[in-house]
């Protein structure tokens, strides 16, 4: 059984929290463990800048979205910080690998903590999961803290989990933020 968690409050609050989501109430410990390990691995690959291994996590129809100015903006009409299809994810990785992506040369030193996993009800075989991330970054400019609510669609391809969709809602995405050129 699933239930819809609706927020009761003024529009400004709903706008920030985003559209109501249907959370999965049943619990599958094996799947939970597998998904968690997958996302921890993704976090580690990002932290250590293992670009090729990270790129290999994506499906062919991948969408990587980091909205700006809210949670449920329309990326086909509004500016996003990142709105990459599979080919643009590849371009992003190739740029980082040149060694001349100056904002990542030297690369940001990173450690991120991923927590608060919750599964969403899925209408098909895709696995939909939400979690929170907190990232500590230090680079030439100094130290920066990032925080986000992340949403994934994972899919089993040849037996292994892959990312078909990753949405990163930075908590301060309506404010002026510093350069964000590491993989978030």
């Amino acid at each position: 059984m699933s239930e819809m968690d609706e927020i009761d409050g003024p529009d400004i609050l709903r706008e920030w929290v985003g559209a109501p989501r249907v959370y999965e109430k049943s619990f599958n410990p094996e799947l939970y463990h597998e998904v968690q390990q997958f996302i921890f691995r993704e976090a580690r690959l990002q932290d250590i800048h293992d670009y090729d291994a990270w790129e290999a996590l994506w499906t062919e129809d991948a969408l990587y979205w980091v909205p700006a100015n809210g949670t449920d903006t329309d990326p086909e009409r509004q500016m996003s910080l990142i709105y990459d299809n599979r080919s643009r994810i590849g371009l992003r990785v190739r740029q980082l690998k040149t060694g001349r992506r100056h904002s990542q040369t030297p690369p940001s030193q990173l450690a991120r903590v991923i927590s608060n996993f919750e599964f969403l009800k899925s209408g098909n075989d895709d696995i939909k999961v939400m979690c929170n991330a907190q990232i500590f970054e230090t680079n030439l400019r100094g130290d920066t803290m990032w925080a986000s609510r992340n949403e994934y669609t994972l899919r089993r391809v040849d037996g292994a989990l892959r990312m078909a969709y990753k949405k990163v809602v930075l908590i301060n995405n309506n404010k002026a933020i510093y350069t964000l050129s590491f993989l978030v």
Partner: protein, 418 residues
Amino acid sequence: MDGGFKSRWDELIQPGRVHGSLYYDQDIFKEEVEKIWFTTWVYIGHESEVPEVNDFVTKSIGPMPVLMVRDMNGEIQLLMNRCPHRGNAVCVQDKGNRARFTCPYHSWTFANTGELVNYAFPEGYKGVDKSELGLGKVTRVASYRGFVFGSMAAEGPSLEDHLAGAKRTIDQLCDNSPTGEIEISAGFLKHRTRANWKFILENECDGYHPAFVHSSIFSVSDSAIGDLYGDKAVAVTRGLGNGHTEVDPRPEFRRRDVPLSWFGTTEAKLPDYVRQMNEAYGPERARQIMIDGSPHVMIFPNLFIAEIQIFVIQPVAANESIQHSTAIQFKGAPDINRRLRQQTMGSVGPAGFLLADDTEMYERNQRGLEIRQPEYLYLKRGEHRERLDEDGYPIGHSTDDLPSREIWKHYRKMMEAK
């Protein structure tokens, strides 16, 4: 000061070199806020950002926020978001639609024309003239082809006089729209930068850096931007008067003679847009517009039109700035608009393929100035080949420091005034 014969600006701004303190000195920054940001015409926003009556959006003049409002009569107002009573904010939303603003502190209520409509418990204000207690306003407001500018100075040149040669570039931009109108409707990316605003200003028409700062993206994509800024490029830089500068690649595009080459695409890929352009301007004029493309112009002090996107530069402190960037949309041209957004999103903002690295350079420049030798920055590139074009504007090679020299010439004039 040495006996008044030389102003300190003679020391700070010299031919072909400027002193590092102009970028880090907090006192100079405060003086700039008064003499530049609160004096000259500053770009505020575009009329299309408040399309409906009672729409408002928060903008700024320098470090100061300003509400751009389409009031109940349909007029554009630039209001101060400060209750005349005790200074509270009358609005804390970035944008929205409302006819009135009520201060939450003592419930003073203002029409979106700025007038005080009423206050709570009015018996306490016997004999008070409400008309003197309206919201403050930006002293002068003017717009050119939908671009709204504000000036805090009661007197000064008209907006069109201020725009000088840059007027042509705004016309050139609007010509690229089949309706002759552009829209700013996609929201802004806000990129915080720990660097002085003038590093951003000077970089916008610096054609020397792309081959190096952006070589990473040029080498992995099929971008042709790099060709415009090579040693052999025929593109020029130009001073347009009053500190406005441009990179003008039209000589290169006219040499190529291929419509939409400026946008890295072809007519075949945008059939609807091309048809609309031909219908609007006739085939000959449409072809010329689509060969020449959109301008690359830095309108002093804060509006950068970068072909397909705009940047609004906001100074926050001597060592802190915000770049607000968004895609330009050509009114009524959906097929090109999607590409304009997609290319803009890839290029600009904190995660952009281009701007993340430009911004890295600004921040390194700023930190570099903590090293106090040499004291000056060097801006002499291309002095020997600077010349006047047929309209009397100074032009140079696309990789020359001419834009910086033009900016500093105007800057000095403004800072020396009074």
